[in-house]
């Protein structure tokens, strides 16, 4: 008995210890740095405690970055889930099994592209004069110019569309596979009751998939928080600060503009706290 009960501990302790070191050391270091006034250009520093955090709330770019991050999170998560469920159901309903496999293969390709490559490809596609994505607009308007990445009202959506292109299509494949694994009886029963196709999905299949779809949404929420590379390549946070998310602004303060690593760490710490609180609340709400 004793040997049996010690086995989980034997396996878990080293793994958890490694995990703890790997996750806690950088986290604690970030917290420590956030309480100092370190800058890249000078080795000297002092403790300023919560001064960086206080400064952040007076910084218009930080407040703007919080708002942009919230917008980015909502737009990309909602659009990805809508595209994924819409395309997944559509493939399930209209495509033959062989055609579904072809679609699945095609829809997986965008997410296999490195983010930076995808960003470069789409940046060129959005070029106002040569871009393939802006070509229809030029064609319809007789050559008028549309530069989505240089307009504050469209830049965020233009970048978000690339994120959705990568993840929405990939998630559509997952949703299709979820639908294919559902037991056929409830769907057949609904058909016998003369339910329409949309009603079958709205009231039978999607509610049956509630738990895995919520898990997918959480995966996307976490993924959307790490959108730095896409935004950095496509707009660098511009035009102005219209697409400057928190991670973009933190990097900018830490390494591009002023080398204020402590100020950037303070942002990272606040971001971590906000993320943990938000996700815990959402998780509890979903489980309730």
């Amino acid at each position: 008995m004793r040997r049996r009960s010690s086995l989980p501990v034997t396996f878990l302790v080293p793994t958890l210890a490694i995990l703890l070191v790997l996750s806690m050391v950088p986290t604690l270091y970030a917290i420590v740095i956030a309480l100092q006034n370190r800058e890249l250009s000078t080795p000297s520093y002092s403790w300023v405690w919560f001064s960086n955090f206080a400064d952040l709330f007076l910084d218009r770019r930080f407040l703007n970055a919080v708002w942009v991050s919230v917008k980015w999170e909502i737009v990309t998560v909602v659009a990805t889930m809508v595209v994924a469920i819409g395309l997944g159901v559509l493939m399930f309903e209209v495509a033959s099994p062989r055609l579904r496999n072809v679609y699945c293969l095609l829809f997986i390709i965008p997410v296999l592209l490195p983010r930076v490559s995808a960003a470069f490809v789409w940046k060129f596609a959005y070029h106002p004069l040569y871009g393939i994505a802006t070509y229809p607009y030029r064609l319809v308007t007789g050559g008028l110019i549309f530069d989505p990445l240089s307009k504050a009202s469209t830049a965020l959506f233009a970048v978000a569309s690339v994120d959705v292109w990568q993840w929405g299509l990939f998630f559509a494949v997952i949703v299709l596979k979820y639908l294919e694994t559902l037991p056929p009886q409830p769907i057949e029963a609904a058909r016998l009751d003369h339910a329409k196709r949309w009603q079958i999905h709205a009231y039978v299949t999607l509610p049956m998939l509630k738990a895995p779809l919520i898990s997918l949404m959480f995966v996307k929420m976490i993924e959307s928080l790490r959108s730095f590379d896409l935004i950095y390549v496509m707009t660098r946070g511009g035009p102005g600060v219209a697409t400057e998310t928190l991670d973009m602004y933190a990097f900018s303060q830490g390494f591009i503009e002023s080398g204020k690593v402590s100020y950037a760490s303070a942002m990272a710490v606040l971001m971590m706290i906000a993320t943990v609180i938000t996700f815990t609340m959402l998780w509890k709400r979903v489980q309730a």
Binding site: L129, D147, K151, R236, G259
Partner: protein
């Protein structure tokens, strides 16, 4: 007698050993490991990679260049030099040499630059830009000032003489702007950055009499800055699409593909404009100094010795040898043969007959004339990138219309400058 013989034998043995060691030392390779270089893409550096074997023969080791575009190279080199120091050689420029030198991230070049490579042969203006606090920190790979580059055919068709003053430039750009025919009056830089939009804005600021600091007191929040920004924004209305959030690549790309009538840009554009490999407007381009009173933006980029990756003197010597070889007369001659105009920095090359044969007398004259109005427009201080980048963000907001209050932007910059001054 015996002891004399022994002493003589020992002496002979010592001399032999010493001479053999000296010979071995003379042939000892200068480099023991490949030289790691962090740079931004340059045709000259790409060409240099074809001669890797030559450097290996000279030094005993090869080299590896990692390329990042200008803004990324600045961010990465700053992060690397201040922390881990992975690179033996950094590509630095006029905007960050003060920061790198004052932070001790690079070593004075003259101490490790072999005399036979003749540093004094570099263009004096570029030597000046490479100097900070009385010491030379990098060997130039590129540099110069600004030229007004214009489409002779487009101006002739419109009956317009090339503008000689800023007022004429403003009026001509508006007249020449014809988007329906795919022709734009000018191409400017809108993307943020002390070396991007701020770089192109600064000549206007200086032309209207602006100055950055008066001692330790910020002096840029002035009528000159407001007027310079208003003029810049006015000209931007006729700037080619894509330049609002673009920089050098976008504005010169628009000109070289035949969509822009006039632009004032850094001198390497002139070489690109006459090269059929890069230009669709060969034979249609004229060159003049920037319209008066715009000063040219003096600049220089080059290679410097990193201190963190080169802890001892031997590795600094190796890095110094690489820089000297990379910027040598022989390699610059190869760049001239490859028609890499923007990569030429030595007076012996720029004044050569071969240079005049390739690029013609007009360009040579324009370069000589623009040299007279080339100036250092930025604040020569380690804190310049910080201040310049902050203004770059505000200027990008103004260019793209996400903010409209020029004075409010300058007030914000002044408050930031006050903080920077206090920190000194």
């Amino acid at each position: 007698m015996k002891s004399n013989r022994l002493a003589a034998s020992l002496g002979a043995a010592f001399l032999l050993t010493a001479s053999v060691s000296t010979a071995a030392l003379a042939q000892a390779p200068v480099c023991s490991a490949p030289v790691k270089v962090l740079a931004q893409p340059r045709d000259g550096l790409t060409l240099l990679e074809d001669s890797k074997d030559e450097f290996k023969k000279l030094s005993g080791a090869s080299f590896q260049i990692d390329y990042l575009n200008e803004n990324d190279r600045r961010a990465k080199s700053r992060a690397d030099a201040s922390t881990v120091g992975n690179y033996n050689v950094y590509y630095v420029d006029e905007a960050n040499v003060a920061l790198f030198a004052s932070s001790g991230w690079i070593a004075p070049l003259a101490d490790y630059y072999p005399a036979e490579y003749d540093f004094a042969d570099f263009d004096p203006g570029r030597q000046k830009v490479a100097t900070y606090d009385g010491k030379v920190w990098f060997a130039p790979l590129t540099g110069g000032g600004d030229l007004m580059v214009y489409r002779k055919d487009v101006l002739e068709a419109a009956g317009i003489q090339p503008p000689k003053t800023l007022d004429e430039l403003i009026a001509d750009v508006a007249k020449l702007n014809d988007p329906d025919k795919g022709m734009y009056g000018i191409a400017l830089r809108g993307a943020r950055g002390s070396g991007a939009n701020v770089w192109r804005w600064m000549p206007f600021f200086k032309a209207y009499g602006g100055k950055w600091f008066d001692g330790d007191k910020p002096a840029f929040n002035s009528d000159a800055a407001v007027k310079a920004t208003e003029t810049y924004l006015k000209l931007f209305k006729d700037s080619a699409p894509g330049t609002q959030t673009g920089s050098w690549d976008e504005s010169t790309g628009a000109f070289l593909s035949g969509q822009v009538a006039i632009l004032v840009e850094s001198t390497p554009l002139s070489g690109m404009a006459v090269d059929p490999k890069t230009s669709q407007v060969v034979g249609k381009v004229g060159f003049l100094p920037p319209p008066s009173p715009l000063p040219g933006g003096g600049y220089g980029h080059g290679l410097a010795i990193g201190t963190k990756a080169n802890q001892d003197d031997a590795s600094k010597k190796c890095a110094g040898l690489f820089i000297a070889w990379a910027t040598s007369k022989e390699n610059e001659k190869r760049r001239l043969d490859a028609h890499q105009f923007g990569e030429l920095n030595r007076t012996s090359i720029l004044s050569s007959k071969e240079f005049a044969d390739i690029y013609g007398a007009d360009l040579g004259q324009a370069l000589a004339d623009t040299g007279k109005v080339t100036a250092v427009n930025f604040w020569q201080d380690p804190r310049w990138p910080d201040l310049g980048d902050r203004w770059g963000i505000i200027l990008e907001e103004l260019v793209t219309g996400t903010r409209t209050d020029i004075k409010g932007g300058l007030n914000e910059l002044e408050a930031y400058a006050d903080e920077l001054v206090k920190k000194k």
